[in-house]
């Protein structure tokens, strides 16, 4: 396991090639094969470093130990002005603890947190220029929408007229002007979220902390609110750190994502990077679904690597070299949507296998085919249901061939 510092550094390094000017035409005209090469991911926002943004929040070697376990273990993170950053991980991975340390509700065991270059540790929560939107929103039930939004402003003893102004502005921002005198229990889930957002933005925090922002909403509303929330946050221009266990939420809302596990960052990158270029098996399996093959390396040179995988008749071929000695074990990750299913035997000598369709999960927009390979392993592959009535799609117990492009496979060495 590398330390988070190294991961950070490597990500920065791996993105340097993407800094070359890329016009839309250039991207479209690129040969398909190059699209999936590491470090050259089209459709990905430039990293904050590339935009010459200023660092606003620097977390350095933060560790939090509770009595029996370490919740956050020597974590480093830099947030840049105006970005939305997501801490993504399963429950108990330490993401909430990290957020609570930023808000001031937990004290780190060691490390430092710099906001605009000033140390935050030791500053009580009520003096920190950060505000949090709580998972359950934590709206004051005995106060109206207006009083809730004004609460933070009143604490800083602003003149009354100024508070009124600011509250009105916030109400307009979240489109809640009509509901000023309602109490929280008279609002729907989505409206409560807007009020909570307005309340946490009212004091113009340097960093906005979002704790599972969609956690209290139902699925339909969640999808709708994601982009709306991003719009509001972007229109204010506030730097935002969110915590979520929902990968879709992180991918749609965040500019950058850190995948967290057991108190450490495994990978930090843009949504597309962490999906297409996971740097470890955990990250590959955590984001989306993936087929994992335990393989070993046959040979590798600058343009081609050949990998043997179980009972596959044909080797797996990659178009780049792998820094491993021949014969060493490695893991190949392959996303289900990158696999082609066919009844016909592929003509290539590499990158295909065969099996029998054991199960089909029809999800409406796509179908997932679970294919049992000749060696007994199950591989999942997805097909979009483009046509309403399509003949010739594989069905149960069909003998099918699965093939993929050399760029689709991700070689993972740990």
């Amino acid at each position: 396991m590398e330390t988070p510092v190294d991961i950070n550094a490597r990500n920065t390094a791996s993105q340097q090639p993407a800094a070359q000017p890329q016009t839309a035409e250039a991207i479209i005209n690129q040969p398909v094969k190059q699209l999936h090469l590491p470090g050259q991911l089209p459709g990905q926002k430039p990293t904050p470093e590339q935009q010459n943004r200023k660092p606003i929040l620097e977390i350095k070697h933060i560790t939090k130990r509770f009595e029996t376990f370490t919740a956050v273990n020597d974590v480093d993170l830099t947030l840049y002005q105006g970005e939305i950053f997501a801490l993504l991980g399963s429950s108990g991975c330490g993401k909430s603890t990290l957020l609570r340390m930023l808000a001031g509700f937990e004290t780190p065991t060691s490390g430092s947190i710099l906001l605009d270059g000033k140390e935050l540790i030791g500053v009580p929560p009520y003096k920190r220029p950060v505000n949090m939107m709580f998972q359950s929103y934590a709206l004051f039930p005995y106060m109206t929408v207006k009083q809730n939004i004004a609460f933070g402003l009143k604490q800083s003893k602003l003149p009354k007229a100024q508070i009124e102004d600011r509250v009105d502005k916030m109400l307009r921002l979240v489109h809640m002007e009509e509901y000023v005198d309602r109490k929280p229990f008279q609002l729907s889930g989505g409206q409560r979220q807007r009020v909570a957002l307005a309340r946490s933005l009212a004091k113009e925090p340097r960093v906005l902390l979002l704790d599972e922002p969609m956690g209290a909403l139902d699925k339909k509303l969640r999808e709708q609110m994601r982009l709306e929330l991003v719009d509001i946050i972007n229109s204010v221009g506030v730097t935002c750190l969110m915590v979520t266990h929902d990968q879709e939420e992180a991918m749609t809302m965040a500019d950058r994502i850190a995948i967290m596990e057991k108190g450490e960052f495994l990978q930090i990158g843009g949504p597309r990077e962490i999906y297409e270029n996971p740097n470890c098996r955990f990250c590959a399996e955590f984001i989306g679904s993936v087929n994992i093959f335990d393989c070993h390396l046959i040979s590798s040179n600058a343009t081609q690597s050949l990998i043997a995988c179980g009972d596959f008749k044909n080797p797996i071929e990659l178009t780049h070299d792998i820094d491993l000695a021949d014969g060493m074990p490695l893991t190949i990750a392959l996303r289900p949507e990158k696999i082609y299913i066919s009844h016909l035997t592929p003509q290539e000598e590499t990158n295909w296998c065969e099996g029998v369709v054991e199960n089909i999960a029809y999800l409406g927009d796509i179908s997932i085919y679970y294919v049992r390979l000749t060696d007994g392993r199950i591989v999942s592959a997805t097909l979009p249901n483009v046509d309403r009535f399509k003949e010739g799609l594989p069905t149960w117990d069909d003998h099918v061939y699965l093939s993929w492009d050399p760029e689709s496979c991700i070689a993972l060495t740990f």
Binding site: P124, M132, A138, L139, F140, P141, G152, K183, Q186, R199
Partner: protein, 328 residues
């Protein structure tokens, strides 16, 4: 004290109800005869043991003393075929026009003692309830026992224990003397101080338990939200914890204030001759002066003094609730 019983129960019920359920609209439910049968029993109980005695006392308060058995004039008399109903109101006017102002003074004194005792119970009980609510479950049981167990010993025994503790050569004076804090014993018994100690000691559990139940339902993220929005600790307490535990504060205060107002044993045993509370007045009128009508009038007046503020408070609460429901 049966006077505040029904009001008390309402507050207790409200205190022990989860918040969310209060906010829900009442369910549509068709009452069947079974439901009425179930309600019927408590109604009968209340009529026999509360309403009837109250009416009897009220009736007595409208008569005058007579040397007879019972020692008061009948309300309704038949003389030569004429039915006479005589309502004597002088008992009530006497209370307020007494030249020494004995009754008024004892009412005020009782109100003062009850109010301060309630306040002290609240100030002492809140941290105890907080400790209970925030302790780990295993520890909580132990703490609970410590709060409740004293109530298992006889009330009078506990008061006598305080008498021996606070007397001139009692334990407290001895310790203070040995420590050199005082040179000669302090007079503690027969003072208001002793009365407060006794009342607060005896009624503290009734404050702690509703407060504890309210604190268990507190949404702690609201405290964090207040902190997060720049609210300092003391202000956070008053702006988040107090509103959230309002039901517990009200229920606990009622449970302490109402019995403390009519308290007889504690002031009698610990208090001085100067502190004449309403309980002693009642005792004197009933048993020393055998003036049952006046004693009844004193009791009824006290009930009115108690019930009116409770009713006003309850009405305000209801109006607030209705306003909320109307906005839905």
């Amino acid at each position: 004290m049966s006077t505040g019983f029904s009001a008390n129960m309402t507050f207790i019920r409200r205190a022990f109800q989860p918040r969310s359920r209060q906010a829900l609209a009442p369910q549509q439910h068709q009452n069947t005869w079974r439901d009425y049968a179930l309600i019927f029993l408590p109604y009968v109980w209340m009529i026999i043991f509360f309403l009837l005695p109250f009416l009897i006392i009220f009736k007595i308060s409208l008569s005058v003393t007579e040397i007879a058995i019972p020692p008061y004039s009948p309300l309704v008399t038949f003389e030569e075929g004429a039915m006479q109903i005589i309502l004597h109101l002088e008992n009530y006017t006497n209370i307020f026009t007494d030249p020494d102002g004995t009754y008024i003074r004892s009412y005020l004194k009782s109100l003062q003692v009850a109010a301060f005792s309630t306040l002290f119970c609240l100030i002492i009980g809140y941290p105890i309830a907080w400790a209970l609510a925030s302790s780990k479950p295993a520890m909580r049981n132990v703490l609970f026992m410590l709060v409740i167990m004293p109530s298992w010993t006889s009330f009078v025994v506990r008061i006598y224990a305080w008498m021996t503790l606070m007397k001139r050569d009692g334990l407290i004076n001895d310790i203070l003397m040995v420590l050199g804090i005082i040179d000669e014993p302090i007079q503690m018994l027969q003072t208001d101080f002793a009365v407060y100690v006794g009342i607060v000691y005896c009624y503290l559990p009734y404050m702690v338990l509703p407060l504890f139940s309210a604190l268990m339902k507190v949404d702690y993220s609201l405290i964090e939200a207040a902190y997060d929005l720049g609210c300092r600790p003391v202000k956070t307490f008053f702006s988040t914890l107090v509103p959230q535990t309002k039901s517990g504060i009200v229920a606990g205060s009622m449970l302490v204030f109402i019995p403390a107002l009519g308290e007889y044993v504690i002031p009698e045993l610990l208090g001085g001759k100067s502190s004449i509370l309403i309980g002693r007045i009642l005792w004197q009128e009933f048993f020393n002066n055998r003036d049952w009508p006046l004693a009844s009038a004193v009791a009824i007046t006290m009930l009115v003094i108690l019930v009116i503020p409770i009713m006003i408070f309850y009405k305000m609460e209801r109006r607030e609730q209705e306003k909320l429901n109307a906005g839905k």
